[in-house]
């Protein structure tokens, strides 16, 4: 299964380029295109109304707009329920509802985004291609960085937890074993790594993130950077290239979108700088056609025509 991420500054045409590419690929393979941008417009591009559910628009092309807020809410509700079960006694005082404040935790949106991608990769195995239309640069870089950052933290926490369990083991070994029916004066703590809920949870999280990191950095993953021929877009794209490089994510194509006769000179300059910023990465130009404004053609048609058989 191949995975494509379309990324870039807000408003450069990521969704349209992603939609056109998905449409093109769907002529020879089964494709799921998923919009992760909170400001969805995938449905508008294809002229269909999409809810949170998948919608098949041809035998080989399926669309989906992910409701990130709902994902974040579902995740927190699940965690709040686990907390409520652990601290069940608080129900007596009617205080358990106060855990609901967790939904305002920062960083949850990025996590929801990553969870959504992880779930799609794990569950949508019927497709040959997964195309993700991502939110604007800032959020995209943050969620793509999340697996690496999290793994670093998890590794450190696992190391400390293992040390704690070692200490507990030492303590239990020095103390004599309990006689039958004897009540210890002090709580005897579990020292077996298999019995420690925190260590178990950390190990599960680590294996999930290692796997996801492997997929995101692997041969089957492609990041496509879309930009426009203007300085703002150029600067943000440069930062994105730098960010992707730091994270070890595979940028394999750049698309200079919305090029017209008026901004062609600027397009040349921007493309030269981008080629220097990301040497060796293929670059495609997609012109902005007058036909669009006259209603003679659709954005989708234009991009498909101009991109040729790129995918």
């Amino acid at each position: 299964m191949k995975i494509l991420f379309f990324t870039g500054k807000g408003g450069v045409g990521k969704s349209t380029v992603a939609a056109a590419s998905a449409w093109q690929i769907s002529r020879r393979a089964r494709v799921l295109i998923q919009s992760l941008d909170p400001a969805h417009n995938l449905g508008d591009i294809f002229g269909v109304s999409l809810g949170d559910r998948k919608r098949k628009i041809s035998d080989t092309l399926t669309l989906q707009e992910v409701d990130l807020q709902k994902l974040a809410r579902d995740y927190l509700e699940r965690e709040t329920r686990v907390l409520g079960e652990t601290y069940r006694y608080l129900q007596v005082l009617n205080l358990d509802n106060y855990f609901s404040i967790l939904k305002y935790s920062p960083g949850i949106e990025e996590y929801a985004l990553l969870t959504s991608i992880e779930r799609t990769i794990n569950e949508e195995t019927d497709f040959d291609y997964l195309v993700f239309d991502t939110p604007p640069t800032g959020l995209t870089l943050r969620f793509l960085a999340l697996p690496s950052v999290t793994i670093t933290w998890i590794d450190r926490l696992i190391a400390i937890r293992e040390k704690i369990l070692e200490k507990r083991y030492t303590i239990q070994k020095i103390r004599r074993p309990l006689k039958e029916g004897e009540v210890p004066r002090e709580e005897r703590l579990k020292y077996d790594p298999g019995d420690d809920a925190i260590l178990q949870r950390l190990r599960v999280l680590k294996s999930n993130y290692d796997r996801l990191n492997g997929i995101l950095r692997g041969e089957d993953c492609t990041v496509v950077l879309v930009f426009n021929p203007d300085m703002l877009s150029l600067r943000e794209s440069q930062r994105l290239v730098e960010g992707l490089r730091e994270l070890g994510l595979p940028l394999r194509l750049m698309v200079d979108n919305k090029v017209t006769g008026l901004n062609e000179e600027m397009a040349e300059r921007v493309e030269t700088v981008m080629k220097q910023t990301a040497p060796g990465i293929a670059l495609e130009r997609v012109p902005l056609s007058d036909g669009l404004y006259c209603g003679k053609e659709t954005v989708l048609y234009r991009i498909m025509k101009d991109m040729g058989d790129r995918f």
């Binding site: 965690e79 960083g107 933290w153 926490l157 400390i160 937890r161 704690i164 004599r176």
Partner: protein
């Protein structure tokens, strides 16, 4: 009621033995609790203004951290007189 002598002596010896064992683990126990405190501080550091792991990681572990949270609270209370605390731990009068 007269207590049988031999079980009585055995009980005393067992208690002495236990006391020695407890003395032997005292420092390791303090060390372990400190590590649990550090663990809680790292996971829940954002509560006290420390750099913290991604929020969801803290949220994932929070349900299992009752003991660590109690230690964190106790250490925060004792933090006012750490010198006395350390002297007590190391048996310095």
């Amino acid at each position: 009621m007269k207590l049988p002598v031999i079980p009585f002596i055995r009980e005393i010896l067992s208690r002495i033995h236990d006391t020695h064992r407890e003395n032997a683990v005292a420092l390791t126990k303090v060390e372990m609790e400190e590590m649990e405190n550090i663990f809680a501080l790292l996971v829940l550091g954002s509560f006290v203004g420390l750099p913290a792991p991604p929020t969801f990681l803290a949220v994932e572990l929070l349900p299992f951290m009752e003991r660590e949270l109690k230690i964190l609270g106790r250490r925060a209370e004792d933090a006012g007189d750490m010198l006395a605390e350390m002297c007590g731990t190391l048996g310095i009068d």
